[in-house]
């Protein structure tokens, strides 16, 4: 079956958010060996960190404004220190 356009768009957005946060906010990749409690999802916290940095509304969710900011061309150096 073909993928529904909205589902495809949502999948792309999730991939964008994860890649962005991995590149610039030190979000750990799932395939890296690290300890993570099942109930703890670091993505909203990293999103909040990013939203705060850019002066966006801090929701912890990939809303339209956040996605727009992530799509902007930018410097490849992370916004937070490693």
């Amino acid at each position: 079956f073909p993928v529904a356009p909205e589902a495809e768009e949502e999948r792309k957005n999730i991939a964008l958010v994860e890649t962005y946060l991995q590149n610039f906010y030190n979000l750990q990749k799932d395939d890296q060996p690290h300890v993570r409690l099942k109930s703890v999802n670091p993505l909203p916290e990293k999103l909040k960190e990013m939203q705060e940095f850019f002066g966006l509304k801090v929701t912890g969710k990939p809303d339209l404004e956040t996605l727009e900011m992530m799509k902007k061309p930018r410097c490849g150096v992370p916004d937070i220190g490693k």
Partner: protein, 367 residues
Amino acid sequence: YVFTEGNPKWKRNNLTYRIVNYTPLMRRADVDEAIQKALSVWSNVTPLTFQKIEDKMADIMISFVVRDHQDNSPFDGPNGQLAHAFQPGEAIGGDVHLDNEEYWTKDGRGYNLFIVIAHELGHSLGLSHSTDPGALMYPTYAYTDPKEFHLPQDDIDGIQAIYGQSNAPVQPTGPTTPQACDPSLTFDAVTTLRGEMMFFKGRYILRKHPQRIETELNFISLFWPKLPSGIQAAYENIERDEVLLFKEDKYWVLRGYDIAPGYPKSIYRLGFPKTVKRVNAAYSDENTGKTYFFVADRYWRYDENKRSMDHGYPRKILSDFGKIGRVDAAFQKDGYVYFFHGTTQFQFDPRGKRIVRQMKSNSWFDC
């Protein structure tokens, strides 16, 4: 501004740089010029000097590379990540890498090489990303005409905190990012645009929608890349769905949200005498079709239907607008005219020909 974690810095002030290769999209001379100009952005405000070397390892190696280039930080093709740089240090430290799959230009058509390298050199010298949206060290790309570029104060403060001030007798200062709730905020020009209010300040627009609480801050170049910064006057002609924007002896027309072709044009086409070099403020009365232009302590009246200046002008502003002598910006809204002078704003009733209220210039922002 933010320092790179661990506060790395160069131990010497005399640094070397080398251009390892060139992008095929630009003339070599233009690349050289962009890099030299980017280096001078930082050397102008610090005791740092940069010497170009051709053959050996330099402190700052500048290269155009693509995708995986063996530094664990691959580029991603066109757009997205444009460039990156390494903090001060040995070997790869200080180096600048530019994604050679970007459309590099010396102007605003693609990504401006000068702006991007100037930002990256900030990293090479020990600065991290700033949260000030007007700073050069803000992480996202924003175009500024290199001829109009001035290093923002946030970046000057940051780099001088690392390397100290310039040896020049007069210390350079830079523009600061306007804050909507700053009580000392003044404006270059104000206009309505299809129900919104646009406040011009330097290279920024503060955009306020009456139904939204927050004020949006954007670069003028984000909306209109061909418009210069420092717009001096603006007014909306609601009848024609146009906004006219003025700087020095030129004006541009926005039709809807787009700059109309064929602009800028000379303000003398509107009927100003050659003695007028710039317009300080303007507003158009939608009821009468008359537009008022304020120049120093006088004003002219223009008939939008006849498209010519009315006779009997200029007149003294003081003669017809109460105690308002000089005007920075003006606009009409809901039958009233609002005049801005410094941090003060006057609400003027054109029917009663009197000032009905006096408030702060930033009263439109929900502070």
